[in-house]
Symmetry: C2
Subunit: 341 residues, 2 copies
C-alpha cells in the first residue's frame, strides 16, 4: 500500500481530518465541529484524538508520512507559532506545531488555509498539469495562494499570497486590514451581502429587499439565486464582483505570467454570473492576457486595444476550482509528502 | 584571469557594450548611438563590430562565456525572436538571437531590458544580499523585473514583470497598452510632464507654467528641480507619483512577500520627493508591510490600523537602485554566466 499522510482543515466552524495516500486517494474522512468556545486546548484534544484514531486504523497497512494542518491565520514558518488568527481566538503565539508533534510523535507541517487550498488544486484539481499557479478563494474573506515550481511560495515571512488585500479602489470601502478598497471588500460572500444591502438602501432593489426581509439567512447564495432568475440588481452585484476580480487578475497576469489562475471558495459557485466580467476586464487591462488568451477567449478580443498581438506559446487559463471544500484537505495532506522529499 | 562575458544594452537611443568578469568587475565599456533610422541591419552591424573589437582585445587573457543583450520589448524566449518593440521599429519577428550567434559564434542570451536591470541590481546593486527581489524602472515608461531564487522569473511566456501596467485608478488615464489608469500613466517621466501640463492647464501653477514656457526641454527633471525648490504644484505631482507607486508596491508586498523592492530609472533621482508618499501608502495599505517594516519605518507605524502586529523575521526593504543606468549592462553580462551553469 502507498504511504499515507493525514490532512487537517482546522476552520473556525468545522474541523475535518482525512487520510490520503501518495496517489491522492482519499482513504478516510472525518468531520467534527470546531468547539472554539470551549477553548484552544479542547480543540487540540479533539483534533489529536481524531488523528490518532485514523492513524491507528491504518498503521499496519501503510506507513504514516506525517500530518499537515491548514490553519486560518498567519503562521511563523520558522517556529510553527500561529501569529494571528481572528477565527481562532486565544491561539495567537501558541506553539501549535510543537504541541501536536509532542503528542503524536510524528512530523507536523502547519500552513495557511488559503495556501493549502492552492496546493490541493495544484496537486489534484484544476491546476494539476501546471507547475505554477495562483488561487483566489472567495469565502467569508478572500484568501490567496501561490504555487511556484510545485511548492507553495511562502515569501520571506510566510505571508505571501494575500491577493484579497490588493487595492482595487484606492478610496473604496474600508477593510479590516487598515486599507481601503481591498478586493475582499468586493468579492467575498460578506461583500456580496453588504453590496446587496447598500443597493436596498440606495434604491428600490425590490426583489433584493423582499429576499432580505423574508430570508432569515440572507446570504450571498440567496443573492446569487436572484441573479440567475434574472434580477437586474443582483446581476449588477455579481458583475461588479467579476470586475474587481478581473482588475486583480490583470495585475497578477501582468506581473507573474503564470499559466493558470484558479477561483475557488463558496462564492465561486456564482461563476456563471461573475466570470464574463472577469474576462472583459482581462481583455482590456492585461497586455499579457491579450497576447496569451486561449483561442476561445481571443475570439472576443477584437474590442481590445492591446498593443501586443496574440502569439504562440502557453495560454493563460482562468478557471474554477475543482475540489470544492476538499481542496484544503488534500493540500494539507500533501504538505508532509513534500516536506519529506 | 576570470572568465568574461559581454553585456549589451540595446536602447532606442544608446547602444552600450561592456565586458564584465565573473566577479562583476567592469573591464571595458563602449557607448555608441543606436542608429535606429538607418535600419535594423545597420544597428546589428554596429553592435557586432563593437562586440568583436572588445572580445578580440581580451581573447588571449580570458575565455568568453557569451553575450547577453537587454532589449526594450517582448521576447519569445524559446525562439529568440523579438515579438514587439515600439522603440526598435522593424525588429518585430526578426530572429535577433540566431543572427548574432551566427555572426559571432558564441552563446547569445536575449532578455527584456527591465528584467536585465533587475538582474543587475540583484547581482551587484541594492539587492545583492537577497535571493528574491522585484525592481521597478521609472523611465519613459515604467518597466519591471522579478528575480526569484537568483534567476529572472520570466513567466510562462517570458512576459512576467509588467508592473508598469498594474491598474492604479480603474477609470484613470488611458494607457498605450489598452488599459486605463496604469502605474505607467502616473510614475513615468512622460507621466510627470503630462501631469505638470495638466496642472498648468487647470490652474495657475505659475512656476510650472514659467518653466514650461522658458525651458525648451521641459522635462521630469525640470519639474523635480522646482519641487526641491519648494514649489507646491511640483511637489504635489511627485507626491502623487509616490502614492501610485505605494499602491502598486502594497500589492506586490501582499502578494509576494519579497525581502526587497528596488526603484530605479531616471525618475528615481526624485526619490526624496516621492518616497515619503510610498511609505505612507504601504503603512496604510499593506498588512504584510505593517508586520515586516524595518524598525526605522515602524516607528512611524502608529497611524496604521493594520491588524497584524510587527513581528520577528526578515524585514521588507523598499529602496533606491544603486547602479544607475549601468544596471542593465551588468545584468546583461550576467545572463550567459547563469545560462552556462
Amino acid at each position: 500500500m502507498n504511504k499515507l499522510s493525514i490532512g487537517v482543515d482546522l476552520g473556525g466552524t468545522n474541523l475535518r481530518i482525512a487520510a490520503v495516500d501518495e496517489q491522492g486517494t482519499l482513504v478516510e474522512k472525518v468531520t467534527l465541529g470546531t468547539k472554539v468556545s470551549l477553548g484552544r486546548d479542547h480543540v487540540i484534544d479533539d483534533m489529536c484524538d481524531a488523528i490518532q484514531r485514523v492513524s491507528e486504523k491504518y498503521k499496519d497497512a501503510a506507513p504514516l508520512l506525517g500530518i499537515g494542518i491548514g490553519v486560518p491565520g498567519i503562521i511563523d514558518m520558522q517556529t510553527g507559532l500561529l501569529r494571528e488568527s481572528p477565527n481562532l481566538p486565544g491561539w495567537a503565539d501558541y506553539p501549535v506545531r510543537a504541541e501536536i508533534e509532542r503528542r503524536l510523535k510524528t512530523i507536523v507541517v502547519l500552513e495557511n488555509d488559503a495556501n493549502v487550498a492552492a496546493l490541493g488544486e495544484k496537486w489534484l484539481g484544476a491546476a494539476k498539469d501546471y507547475p505554477d499557479m495562483a488561487m483566489l478563494t472567495l469565502g467569508t474573506g478572500v484568501g490567496g495562494g501561490l504555487v511556484m515550481g510545485g511548492a507553495i511560495w511562502q515569501g520571506a515571512n510566510g505571508m505571501a499570497g494575500e491577493f484579497g488585500h490588493t487595492t482595487v479602489e484606492p478610496d473604496g470601502h474600508p477593510c479590516g486590514c487598515g486599507n481601503r478598497g481591498c478586493l475582499e471588500q468586493y468579492a467575498s460572500a460578506t461583500a456580496v451581502v453588504r453590496m446587496a444591502r447598500e443597493a436596498i438602501a440606495s434604491n428600490s432593489a425590490s426583489a433584493l429587499a423582499r429576499a432580505a426581509h423574508s430570508d432569515a439567512e440572507f446570504s450571498a447564495k440567496s443573492i446569487y439565486n436572484l441573479a440567475i432568475q434574472g434580477d437586474a440588481d443582483a446581476r449588477r452585484i455579481f458583475h461588479y464582483v467579476g470586475r474587481c476580480l478581473g482588475i486583480v487578475l490583470s495585475t497578477l497576469v501582468n506581473s507573474l505570467n503564470l499559466p493558470i489562475y484558479v477561483i475557488g471558495g463558496g462564492v465561486s459557485s456564482a461563476w456563471e454570473s461573475f466570470s464574463p466580467a472577469i474576462f472583459e476586464e482581462l481583455r482590456r487591462r492585461s497586455l499579457v492576457y491579450a497576447a496569451t488568451a486561449p483561442a476561445d477567449a481571443s475570439a472576443v478580443l477584437q474590442g481590445a486595444s492591446a498593443v501586443v498581438k496574440a502569439g504562440p506559446g502557453p495560454k493563460t487559463i482562468i478557471t474554477r476550482a475543482l475540489l470544492g471544500s476538499d481542496a484544503g484537505l488534500y493540500g494539507a495532506a500533501r504538505l508532509p509528502m513534500i516536506a519529506n522529499r
